[in-house]
Homo-oligomer: 508 residues x 2
């Protein structure tokens, strides 16, 4: 055993398992596909036409140099790709990889039949029943990290679960990186807001993981959004290049509101989405061949009455289903739809839309689900109760995806023989032996009679979720973190904070 | 054209299309399957073992005579079936049939890749925001019939959508049959509460449809629940026999709470469910070979804390998915899970559970969905707002299942070429030509900004649904019904009401 390995193992053994993570669910059986292979192929062909004839803008000098060095024609910031070259580049990416966490029991596999859930990322507001909707703060971000740490059904620590608006923007990523190291021991996002921020997050991860950081497996993931239509900007490209060089996971996600950032039609949107995703994914492979990537796709429609984005709409599900088929065609892990809703509060609309957005991916082969808990208001708000309610569904999905035990014992033929027609199985030997573990029990959902439910206050699901998140925050315990490492991180981020305060233009 | 045909066509032309029905959705692509073919076959074999060795009780003299006449061994009320004979009988049932409605535009196809949605059936209570939970009345039943008539996404008029508790039980089915004839022109349930009630419903349907009633296509459907474990009672068998003789649709649905009416394990529950369903289905084919049937399956779990049934649980979805595979193995239409919930109110729990119960069938090939709108409180309550909210989802499913337009026009390549990187598609010729019909717009769900939503009262989805159901009831119009037919129905039911009042034991 090398010194590095030994050191890593010691560090890993020291981490807490007070709040364990559930094993990742995996897709069983035959997956649902909505489009024919011929139509998937037509989308591919149209995308190749877009890549070669219409092109994708890369608004970064270094990126253009990399493209040119790889033989890509770049004219007026627009890169024109050779289809065969794109396919050859994409083929370099792994179909599956391991994303290592500080707690090795929380390392996850991404790709093939594996599924991983991650909390919402990016909302500038938070909502809870007591305080309503308000700008979120570092205290909220830390609360959501704690809830994530305690939720067994989230396999990834996420990114900025809610924006710490009370920290100045140029140095915010430093406090985010520190909070991620301190409050969770799952793998999590790096930074994609700038080149320097990306490197700061990588530096902190190196401090956390030590030499093991360079063992070939990624620790961080970043989401690179294409600024659709057909444009990757300097910030995204800068952080893409830095993270790809460090071998971290790059998720390329074009985000298209059909009718605004892409054609109003689903087929046209899909062709553009696929072209944009392939451009980003191929570029990553130019920077670092074999770098782990995830094929992302995010399509929503516009409400033609208000102009607002609509989440949980049927068109989005159709897009998502076909995007999964495209990712599978390229042999890449797929990032699917989360618990999206347009609703401002965790009401029935919110739950219907969230399930409507989330479930199709579970039947069709999604691998990584960002925004799987807490999303409200078109992604502008992180909801505390919504986080708890969504997590309840994630627990159900785990049970659901674990399939059925078809052992001889499970067929319980002796019980079936023993119980008379019209009798009951409540006291059979088989029931007595198995009832404790037979069913998944949702904690937040109420199964009492109407009378008993009223007697206990007639609380709806959101009120129960409100109670639960407060109980969880009280019960939270910090995961183990070597005090020397924590000190090193603090030193680093305070030094960088001073740099940034002195030279704000460098940071952001 | 025969006189009967001409008469039928005249009658059909006279019906209203003020509130049209949406075309039935159909399953596209490759369906999701969770169990391997080998495991499906093992369930089949275990069921055959139950049918031949353990047997199913048929608690009706005529039914036993029919069984014996078909060579089935019956000992102490229990029928023991020969597996090959069961398969041969099942093979007589059609894989697809047409259920004719009074309005011919509302006739539906059941089976193969067709899907049909039907409202909730049977709740003794109703709920709305204004009046809370209370015993439902004939006025509620009529209201739900009106809402069904006006909802394009329900393809079937359903049964007793909410119980008219203010009508004496023995004559209730008469008023139900009259209300179905008067307020809706979709196909609907007959009666399965007794032999006489079944015949009354058939008689009323004959009055409505005239000679066409005997043209070989069914007009009515009944649900025959097996009194699990392994028992069909006299009432169910009586109405089964009468409806099967009249060639109407029989849905055989064993209803098992795992751990109570069947083994606590899913595999054991499935073996028993399948045996019970096959016994009923085979029996229908003895009564009337070729009679249209639907394979039903209803599994729920018990909450081990309260003993109450749990709806929307992951185990139920696993059961439902495998039951669909079994129905497909036998070439039979499948009745799948509806919008089930244990919640007492239309809150987030209700919506999550409903979507969780409903969506899997849409990915795996369900054909007929009872309880697709309005279900609350484990089926004990029909909710007005829930009905509206569920219907919104049904509309989304219609769009969802209609698939994607992959025409050249839909790829919008000219638009993609025309719009600069970072530009927008809002004003392109393609957007202008297509935006009106591009997206399904949910009426009840809110897509406004948080600010605008608050300005408009910050109403949650249930409050909006409350407003909508009242607006709908005001806008309702009666479908056309020949006054002579209506008079004949009234005469019949009043005559039968007097019979029943004089001889209550005959009716119920």
């Amino acid at each position: 055993m090398t010194t590095a390995r030994r050191r890593r193992r010691t560090r890993e053994q020291a981490t807490s398992t007070t709040f364990p993570m559930a094993p990742q669910p995996r897709h069983p059986g035959i997956l649902y596909t909505s489009a024919t292979d011929e139509n998937v192929e037509r989308i591919h062909q149209k995308s190749m036409q877009i890549l070669s004839e219409v092109g994708i803008a890369f608004l970064d000098d270094e990126a253009q140099a990399i493209l040119r060095a790889n033989g890509v024609k770049v004219v007026d910031d627009i890169a024109y790709f050779d289809p065969a070259h794109v396919e050859e580049l994409i083929a370099r990416a792994p179909s599956k990889f391991t994303l290592r966490a500080r707690d090795p029991q929380k390392s996850i596999v991404v790709g093939e039949d594996y599924i991983a859930f991650s909390p919402v990322a990016g909302p500038p507001f938070t909502y809870d029943l007591d305080r309503g909707r308000r700008e979120s703060t570092m205290a909220d971000f830390v609360n959501f990290l704690k809830l994530t740490h305690m939720t067994p059904f989230l396999h990834f620590g996420g990114g900025i679960i809610s924006e710490p608006n009370d920290i100045p923007v140029p140095e915010r990523h430093l406090d985010v990186a520190y909070a991620q190291a301190k409050y969770i021991d799952r793998s999590h996002m790096g930074s994609s807001i700038s080149r320097d921020a990306a490197n700061d997050a990588i530096h902190v991860a190196r401090l956390v993981h030590g030499d093991a950081f360079d063992d070939g497996d990624p620790r961080l993931m970043i989401i690179v959004n294409v600024s659709s239509p057909r444009r990757l900007d300097e910030r995204m490209l800068g952080s893409l290049i830095e993270n790809a060089r460090a071998g971290q996971v790059i998720v390329i996600t074009p985000f298209i509101l059909s009718g605004a950032m892409g054609p109003v039609s689903i087929a046209g949107t899909l062709a553009q989405l696929n072209a944009e995703a392939l451009a980003g994914l191929a570029f990553v492979q130019m920077v670092n061949p074999g770098c782990p990537v995830i094929y992302g796709s995010f399509q929503a429609v516009i409400d033609l009455q208000s102009g607002a984005p609509v989440f949980g709409a049927p068109e989005s599900q159709l897009s998502a289903l076909v995007s999964i088929q495209l990712a599978r065609r390229y042999g890449l892990p797929f990032r699917g739809s989360g618990m999206y809703t347009s609703s401002k509060v965790p009401d029935a609309q919110s739950a219907y839309e969230s399930a409507m957005a989330m479930l199709p991916g579970l039947f069709s082969g999604t691998n990584y689900v960002l925004h799987a808990a807490g999303w409200l208001e078109a992604g502008l708000t992180a909801g505390y109760e919504k986080f708890i309610l969504d997590s309840e569904l994630l627990g159900m999905f785990h049970k659901y995806l674990s399939g059925i035990d078809f052992s001889e014992e499970a067929f319980a033929m002796d019980s079936i023989r023993e119980v008379e027609p019209g009798g009951h199985h409540l006291g059979t030997a088989h029931t007595m032996a198995n009832f404790r573990d037979a069913f998944y029990r949702a904690e937040i959902f109420d199964y009492n009679s109407a009378e008993q439910w009223l007697e206990e206050g007639g609380k709806d699901a959101v009120v129960r979720a409100n109670t639960k998140f407060k109980q969880m925050l009280k019960a939270y315990e910090l995961p183990a973190l070597d005090p020397g490492i924590e000190e090193a991180i603090r030193e680093y981020i305070e030094r960088r904070r001073i740099d940034i305060q002195n030279n704000p233009q460098d940071a952001y």
